[in-house]
Symmetry: C2
Subunit: 316 residues, 2 copies
């Protein structure tokens, strides 16, 4: 990332980071100014937060969400953390993730809300995925979205921030374009407004920052980032689209920003949370079906477990 | 491409080629059937040609255009070749390209129309590019499109076929989407209808075939393909988009077909050649300006040369 003798584009001090997309080199201090400005611009442009607002940050322990929390605090928001522990991969990955979130909370002297997915659902994600014969990543994603939203509202927040960044959003956009998912294209936006009693407002304050810019920031600020990748993240296609975007970015620096931010510029009007016809008969969450996906997942998992117990008892 | 013990999906003979996008393996004979069917389908679906029609094939000497010519002949069209020699890279690349086209013409016992770009323009492409201070590839592309169209009509053909294949078109589509070139997206279609006296009809019969499928076909049929790449093809961005498409195809076989053919399926109506307001005051070709781009290129090149000659004479 750095080259010997490189000078900061802002202050001419020795620079540590080079960003071809911006044709810029930064020292640690100026990098921080740059990063904070990008987040400020996203928040203002997309009306994500009002000054000093309370906001819950979904933190995984990775660089993106920890940086998001740090930055929101520095920008003066009452940002608290929420970590849902998934306990995957013999626990090591999840233990490290949890420890990172806890260290970050101590540093920021900010509250961290901690929950175990298994306590929330009564089952392991693995069991739910198997009982429903569904891809692990897709089940995990559904559960996370459901509980992050629910916990956000239960904890008295109306806005949930996530660490999704430019590369994430550009990869998603590319995937939606290539697979021609028009409805997803219509809905892709860095803010989704909440609805009373149903959905929390979702915001992506890091949407103007590339992964490598956040990585540099995490390094400059020495954030306690959990290392490693999710041991179960196989079969998801999003990383392939991100890989394609990164390839184009490497060949033509600035492509990712022009692509994603240009797409947002072209949008005539931002999407709204869809009107949801009814409430889940089990948990009351907004849904199109009689029961929401998560409740159906859990109901089926419980049923399968009961069937197995019944079969085992009959055999003995 | 092949694996030991692999069997043809059609006839169970030993297979030489494997195409994950089609979940198929083919022997040489069945590969040929497959390739011909794909071209037949494209011709029928997009109303490219009527049975036995006269058609001029723009041949470069590369696998795609030679395969296109071979296939159109086999499908019973009166396909003649047109090769415009560019004489680039100390002539070696261009000499090999010309020799390939000539060998192909002999094999097919079909007429080949040969022209040198320098004879057509009166200047080298290099000189035109320099005099107009324009990127070489873009100037070369403009000239080729202009002269291929003009020669097609002058030679008494109304339809010009090119070897553009699925990967070319998908790469172009991706580039247009990422750069949000809406007008190019509106016009992207494997056929462009001609206009009387102005534009020949342009067709891309290979648009359902991937580059690797054509490569396999060229190998199976032992086509006299010119090796090497254009020595001047630097600075073009299309190859980057193609690279990104190939990456996605490798990760998720079938993505390219679904992407491009799906895009065509979704089109409400195919584009038409735009109404052109006027004719070039120099050559009469359709244009939006007073003189067409090619005539302006040539005029400026001649002017620069004259200025230099004048300056040299004044000095001596």
């Amino acid at each position: 990332m750095s080259e010997p003798g490189m000078k900061c584009s802002r202050c001419t001090a020795p620079a540590r980071f080079r960003f071809p997309a911006h044709n810029a080199r930064f020292c640690d201090d100026c990098l921080e100014v740059f990063v904070l400005r990008q987040v400020e611009r996203a928040i203002a442009k997309f009306k994500m937060l009002t000054p000093g607002q309370k906001v819950l940050v979904a933190v995984s322990g990775g660089k993106d969400s920890l940086a998001c929390w740090q930055i929101l605090k520095e920008l003066g928001y009452q940002a608290e953390g929420l970590h849902v522990s998934l306990e995957l991969g013999a626990g090591q990955f999840s233990d490290a993730s949890l420890a990172s979130c806890q260290e970050m909370a101590q540093r920021l002297e900010a509250p961290l809300h901690l929950l175990r997915m298994e306590d929330l659902t009564g089952h392991s994600v693995e069991d739910i995925s198997r009982a429903n014969q569904r891809n692990f990543c897709s089940v995990c994603g559904t559960l996370k979205r459901y509980y992050l939203n629910k916990l956000c509202l239960d904890l008295g927040f109306d806005t949930l921030a996530t660490g999704h960044h430019l590369d994430d959003e550009a990869g998603r956009l590319l995937g939606n374009m290539i697979r021609r998912h028009q409805r997803h294209l219509d809905n892709q936006w860095p803010v989704l407004e909440g609805t009373p009693g149903g959905f929390a407002k979702k915001i992506k304050p890091m949407c103007r920052l590339a992964g490598r810019e956040i990585k540099a920031y995490a390094k400059a600020r020495d954030l306690p980032v959990a290392q490693g990748h999710c041991p179960r993240s196989k079969g998801a296609t999003l990383p392939y689209y991100q890989e394609a975007v990164l390839l184009l970015e490497e060949r033509m620096p600035g492509t990712t920003r022009d692509f994603y931010l240009g797409f947002l510029e072209d949008k005539v009007k931002p999407p709204v949370q869809p009107d949801v016809a009814s409430s889940c008969s089990v948990c009351g969450a907004p849904t199109y079906a009689e029961a929401c996906t998560t409740c159906r997942f859990l109901e089926k998992t419980a049923r399968r477990k009961q069937e197995r117990t019944g079969a085992a008892q009959a055999q003995s």
